[in-house]
Symmetry: C2
Subunit: 562 residues, 2 copies
């Protein structure tokens, strides 16, 4: 566990209420008193001048308090720490502990994390690594148990969790992570329904599902949805009783579009999430703090916006967080204004963890177990490996800017398309699948990546077979991302943990990542297209309309290979 | 259990999701389809024309559905069944099953019930009786475990539950019922804190508690409050994170006063409850349906009002009820208008239970166990038993119209006051306590009752000792309420179950009760004062400002006997 200061005193599972009560009554000193700020109250929407008193990591009082350890925050605003309602730490490309630094600096004190990327590569060892690493930092990371390993029965991941595994593992997890196999749910696949463990919160993932099929999906006990892309979809899903998340990821930025469907009345069932967001973007632009800012810029009442970032998620997930009130976790964000643009201090469990946008705690060097290293099991390839030609007329994949949704289009041989190959990398099966993509625009080059949702086979895209081979070979056993042009490696980000994350700092990873972007532009990747995430989501067979796996082109609507 | 039609199919604790999913998809027939109503959606506040399909007691779909068993409800509104967030069935004076008929006829499909009246008389046998009787009718009665038996350590009830009892019993109950001993909580009395069982929802009761003391009370993990009487108190308690109930009982009618503090924004944390409400009033005026009507009359948005009656309580208590949406219990209220004034049909778990204000199900004759009968253990008394004179100057109790709160006042011998005596009736200890009350106004008569919260010792009030003796003697071993004048019994309601409830029908009890009111007026009880409830709450030493128990006058503020 992390430094003892963050450990809350428990006894037989009961928080030591006596200390809290005595500190509230002034019979013993509080550990910390934040004096004289404007305190935002999520329950009434009012802001009041008050002191916030903390004991044993819990807020014991909000009112007039004094004591030995006072911090003057007069003139500042105190908000509850933010909750990221659904995200994958692996997509940040840094470790949980390293992610914690960036998230806490932006006022995010709790994340609901689905470690399904690493689970698809390393199985149980991956989950163990995530939990152990998360314990090195004070961010409250609630791990959901991945429900889709692999994400579809026909996909070739590095591990499999069936219903029996899921039931066995579930007690050690906060809930069941996004059930992406909605066709399996609504067709009553017993293996799929068996994973929806009774008594656990179950997250959803059902893009564009509507009407009776949506009713059926909700009947399975699925509580949340983060895949809405239109206000109509948001409204329908809210009306079915789902908590709906407004997502602001790196590629999937749905927040602006969805705001048109959010009202003061329905917003209590709306949450914010980042889903998949690069660490560089968290560092630079923020996380849930940014969602609040953007919502306000989009015309949302600041009180609704803060509540979506705090208490709404706490109610949805049953957390004693997300409010500045007695008996709540002392997760506090001190800002210059009620809109959390300039976050001055962040407290987690009553301890200062960030100041002026920088984490103020150190994490011990992580122990990275062998099971999550050297996970790209591929022999070197040559240009001949990619010998493949389309038919005279064929089905291709059109990339759409700012979304991971793709479009199924018809193309003719001779059209200017990029070639994509997905190569199985876990078990040396030799499986590979080809596809052709419009709108990527690479010239004289190739991009290879060991991030290929959710099975994370190697995916490579290029306009010539030689560079495609060079890019794949550059990944080595570590994995990561490589950009090659004219046979040479132009940029390289090593992601030695499961081929998904780096053990380096957020800053180092961001610098290497930026270098990748520069070279992607150099080899002509279209400006509107995210060069790496658009690639990484191409193999995910649960996102409309068309995908490519190591078994070939997949029609998501028909849920079958083409 | 009740008739099999109401039993939902469970298997290993998991609701049979398959049936729901298949019915939603139209692969199998739904059991019931309500066609073409305007369906109110608690999540968005919208009302939509839709069909509601039900399978195995659960809503499987809301949209376009058809099937073998259709009921045309076009032109009607469908609301979710109402939730009474806190109440004592004993205070209705009928059995749980009999209460269920009246509640369901008014659209109340779930009640959070605290059986602490009978627990204070009969202990565990009382709880067993309540649960067994409740199972005879389809109302969903969630029993909380009484936390205050007796309500204060010095009070003389018929049973005691200590912290060890509470921990032992808690797993069989929905939560911990109202913790009234707030002085015990904030002074960290270990017996009191020991009753606040971790992991259980804990209801509160802390009238007028404010500031640091309120912080301390909330720190103990107490979630709800139903004792607010002013908008300011409501706002402060909401701001501390409590769910606050607007109570509309027989004596305590706080709804109108509290509405001034309710806004569309804070109302999501507001609920309705009846607490203590005579069955006659439920029959005549309603229950939570009346709260919705009154809230709307008071200017509350109908959507806020319905949500306070439904989804807000469901969120607070973690119930899959209170919404017309897939996977929710098919508890449905069909009305002429969105304001539930004319309730045409009520469905509980998908079965019709009431039509046009009348229950349409029968309950089997109740088995009433010997342990809850003949509970008034008193020998006959004479006028001399009440020989007691006040000092020249003394402290008296002032009754206040429309509230159970009393005022501590000074009086002089010779003032026109009523004499009150509380007589221990459980263990023949011979304990009795006297007090003098202003504002009751009885002349040439006495009223005796075996309802005397919460220990339910016998309480009698009168202006002469002879009638006081006659009234007490009239109660016999059964208990109940008796009005005497000039030595004769003028009216009598027998409450043979624990001295609190009748085994008769709601209509019979109401008729006898109305007769009591007439005679109370005949003997001059002041019009503004509820003759029986004002009496029944006089011994409750946890309601401000002053009370009388079998040990004498009690100052609630100082929490000590005078």
């Amino acid at each position: 566990m992390w430094v003892s200061g963050f450990v809350i005193l428990f006894k037989d599972g009961i928080i030591m209420k006596e200390n809290l009560i005595k500190a509230a009554m002034g019979e013993i000193d509080a550990d910390l008193i934040l004096k004289g700020a404007e305190v935002y109250d999520v329950f009434t929407g009012e802001t009041r001048r008050a002191d916030v008193a903390v004991k044993d990591g819990i807020i014991c009082g909000v009112g007039e308090y004094s004591g030995a350890n006072e911090v003057d925050v007069s003139g500042k605003y105190i908000l509850p720490g933010f909750i990221d309602a659904h995200m994958h730490i692996e997509s940040s490309m840094v470790t949980p502990a390293e992610y914690a630094k960036a998230a806490l600096a932006h006022g995010v004190t709790t994340v609901i994390a689905d470690p399904h990327e690493i689970a698809n590569v390393c199985g149980r060892a991956g989950l163990k690594f995530m939990k152990e690493n998360a314990a090195l930092a004070p961010l409250d990371i609630k791990f959901m148990l991945p429900s889709c390993v692999p994400c579809a029965p026909f996909d070739h991941s590095g591990a499999e969790f069936d219903a029996a595994d899921t039931k066995e593992l579930a007690p050690d997890f906060f809930g069941i992570a996004e059930m992406m196999n909605y066709p399996g749910v609504i067709s009553c696949d017993s293996e799929v329904l068996g994973k929806l463990v009774d008594g656990k919160i179950i997250d959803g993932h059902a893009p564009m599902l509507t009407g009776r099929e949506l009713d059926a999906y909700v009947c399975a006990g699925i509580k949340t949805e983060h895949e809405c892309t239109t206000p109509e979809e948001l409204r329908e899903k809210l009306g079915k009783g789902m908590y709906v998340m407004l997502r602001e990821g790196t590629l999937s930025k749905n927040l602006d579009a969805l705001l048109a469907g959010v009202t003061s009345r329905n917003s209590r069932f709306c949450l914010f999430c980042t889903d998949d967001r690069f660490i560089g973007e968290v560092l630079k632009d923020g996380s849930i703090d940014l969602c609040v800012q953007k919502a306000v810029e989009g015309g949302t009442d600041i009180r609704d916006a803060i509540n979506m970032a705090t208490v709404n998620a706490a109610v949805c997930y049953g957390l004693k967080a997300g409010a500045v009130a007695p008996s709540y976790r002392a997760d506090l964000v001190v800002c210059d204004d009620i809109v959390p643009k300039n976050i001055r201090m962040v407290y987690k469990d009553g301890k200062l963890v960030a100041r002026d946008g920088k984490a103020v705690f150190d994490i011990k060097p992580a122990q990275i177990c062998a099971e999550v290293m050297n996970t790209v099991h591929l022999d070197p390839v040559t240009a001949e490996f990619f010998a493949h030609e389309p038919s005279a007329e064929f089905t291709a994949i059109e990339l759409i800017p700012d979304t991971i949704v793709t479009k199924k289009v018809r193309a003719k041989r001779g059209d200017k398309l990029s070639k994509v190959c997905v190569i199985e990398r876990h078990k040396r099966t030799g499986n590979k699948g080809f596809a052709y993509v419009t709108n990527y625009g690479i010239t004289n080059g190739a991009v290879a990546s060991s991030i290929g949702h959710d099975s994370h086979n190697v995916i490579v895209i290029g306009d010539n077979d030689r560079d495609m081979a060079a890019a794949v070979n550059a990944l080595g056993a570590d994995g990561g991302i490589a950009v090659c042009s004219r046979g040479a490696v132009k940029a390289r980000l090593t992601l030695e943990i499961a081929g998904l994350m780096s053990a380096k700092t957020a800053e180092d990873v961001t610098a290497a990542h930026e270098e990748l972007y520069k070279t992607a532009a150099d080899v002509g990747v279209n400006k509107g297209i995210e060069p790496f995430l658009s690639l990484a989501f191409l193999p995910l067979p649960v996102i409309p309309e068309i995908r490519v796996t190591d078994s070939g082109l997949f029609d998501v609507e028909k849920f079958e290979f083409i």
